[in-house]
Subunit: 310 residues, 2 copies
């Protein structure tokens, strides 16, 4: 397939086209992504999450420049609706990224995942594959921090970076509510604002000193000035080495593959159920019974899957 060939040579327009097809759930998209699967598995996938206002996109821009200076090819997928990469287009400030936008070794893409039942997972996984297949060494995925999405990004990424900002007890409250378990590297960004040190201290006091051989570091950065960014890049490389040496990379790949396999199973099953002869009508009939409370969803599911619908 010509589009795939172009992508494998690193063509950004092919990447843009394929990711748009993924977003639009184009019939061809699934086939293309299937073809890409065996061209993946070499990139380092880095999830970056944190509250709106923590400066995640500025930090990613700085990391892109840092890794470019180290000779790495870098891709970015932004699924954070508050990201300038994503929502910013509406306000006209997408320019913030143009300094790296003309470089052939960088590709940045925002994703509109809203409206897809099933969360950010499926489309984002597919988009990451596109960036892997086009030869990116590092793929950043930016999401906003809000409970469920951190877990999803932690499943998707090899290395999860939690970006916090100085100050508020709120941040600690958010932390306690779920991201202590999933961060591999923590950074307090905007560290030139007051309160960064106490935020670092607070974080260190609640984080584990050792998590299966890895001690999650707590850094400080001022992304807008590039301060602390080389150190952050070093920690990301160290974590990737740790994953490889410890065998954890294989475990992570298995989790990623299982998420994808389950999504694919659901999609394939629904397609089978609703496109077979009479299948669509049967599905609608059963759904009607769930709506009218004549059938509960689990009984309905069992009947649909066994082909019986009394």
């Amino acid at each position: 397939m010509q589009l795939v060939d172009r992508l494998l040579k690193g063509d950004k327009r092919a990447a843009a086209k394929i990711i748009s097809m993924i977003e639009d759930r184009d019939a061809q998209a699934q086939k293309i992504v299937s073809l890409l699967h065996h061209h993946t598995g070499n990139a380092h996938i880095i999830g970056l999450t944190g509250p709106p206002g923590a400066g995640k996109s500025t930090l990613i821009s700085a990391l892109v420049r840092e890794f470019r200076s180290r000779g790495k090819r870098v891709g970015v997928i932004a699924v954070d609706p508050t990201s300038p990469f994503t929502g910013g287009a509406l306000l006209g400030d997408r320019v913030r990224m143009t300094d790296v936008g003309v470089d052939d070794g960088v590709y940045i893409r925002s994703m509109a995942t809203r409206g897809h039942v099933g969360g950010l997972a499926l489309a984002t996984y597919d988009a990451v594959k596109v960036l892997e297949a086009m030869g990116m060494d590092k793929v950043f995925v930016e999401t906003v921090g809000a409970g469920q999405s951190e877990v999803e990004v932690a499943n998707l990424a090899h290395t999860t970076v939690i970006v916090e900002m100085p100050g508020s007890g709120d941040s600690i409250q958010i932390l306690k509510a779920g991201i202590l378990e999933i961060g591999d590297v923590y950074t307090v960004n905007k560290a030139d604002e007051g309160g960064a040190e106490s935020m670092v201290t607070n974080l260190k006091s609640v984080l584990p000193e050792d998590r299966e051989g890895w001690a999650p570091p707590v850094l400080t950065t001022v992304a807008s000035e590039g301060k602390g960014v080389p150190e952050l890049a070093d920690r990301l490389e160290e974590h990737f080495s740790y994953l490889k040496k410890s065998g954890k990379l294989g475990e992570k790949e298995r989790i990623r593959s299982e998420v994808e396999l389950r999504d694919a199973l659901t999609e394939t099953m629904l397609e089978k159920l609703t496109t077979s002869k009479g299948g669509k009508k049967l599905y609608e009939d059963v759904l009607d019974k769930v709506v009218s409370r004549k059938l509960d969803p689990h009984t309905a599911a069992r009947r649909l899957l066994s082909g019986k619908t009394g």
Copy 2:
């Protein structure tokens, strides 16, 4: 089942027990929820979402009191990890709700949905059913606003309330990024702080004047003092009436049922695949091939579902 009988009589301890079973994915939970299905369908389900700090939980507390004074039974499910109902327990401020906590006509419950692949949907839907079955007239679901989750709560709820706070362009940025389409009622809370009026004006300028016969109102509230809360409660009742009269309630129920049916189909299918004779091994073998890039997930899914695994 005794637990179900107790729940149907409004027993809060039975509700607590069943929701814990749902969270723990207890083997009995699915059966119980199935039994509850035909005792549901009468409550008004109200989703409440917005950024951390907008005062969502204080607003819900005020709405609980308001609806109690109108003789309604009220349930609350908090799936927002930053909510005092949820994360607050860690900080010891769960007390904020105790003034309504002793009332038999009120039941408040936080949900730990983290770690479940598949998002907030499934467990939250089940918990809402528990509250419907115990006889609640109004069921509030609190989530934090962050892109995907608003869409999920809009699918779950009959009426979606977007809670904003005065000030920041950030709020407008967030709004533009996805919640303009899903709010049925908007309120700028903490309206005693400066900037509420301009926030209201901004919201009104971007919201549609009419959405299929409903004009999403933009209110102001000071939840901590109860200001504007009776008006908000009135708008919620009006929206519920509108849904019933226009036939939209049926459409919403169909969407809700379809989300549940699809989740149940996935669960049932995975159970079938992995518990049948040799099924678990087959599943693991295919997963191994996906991990090693010998098979792509979609081809793997088709093979698993057709029973062929060459």
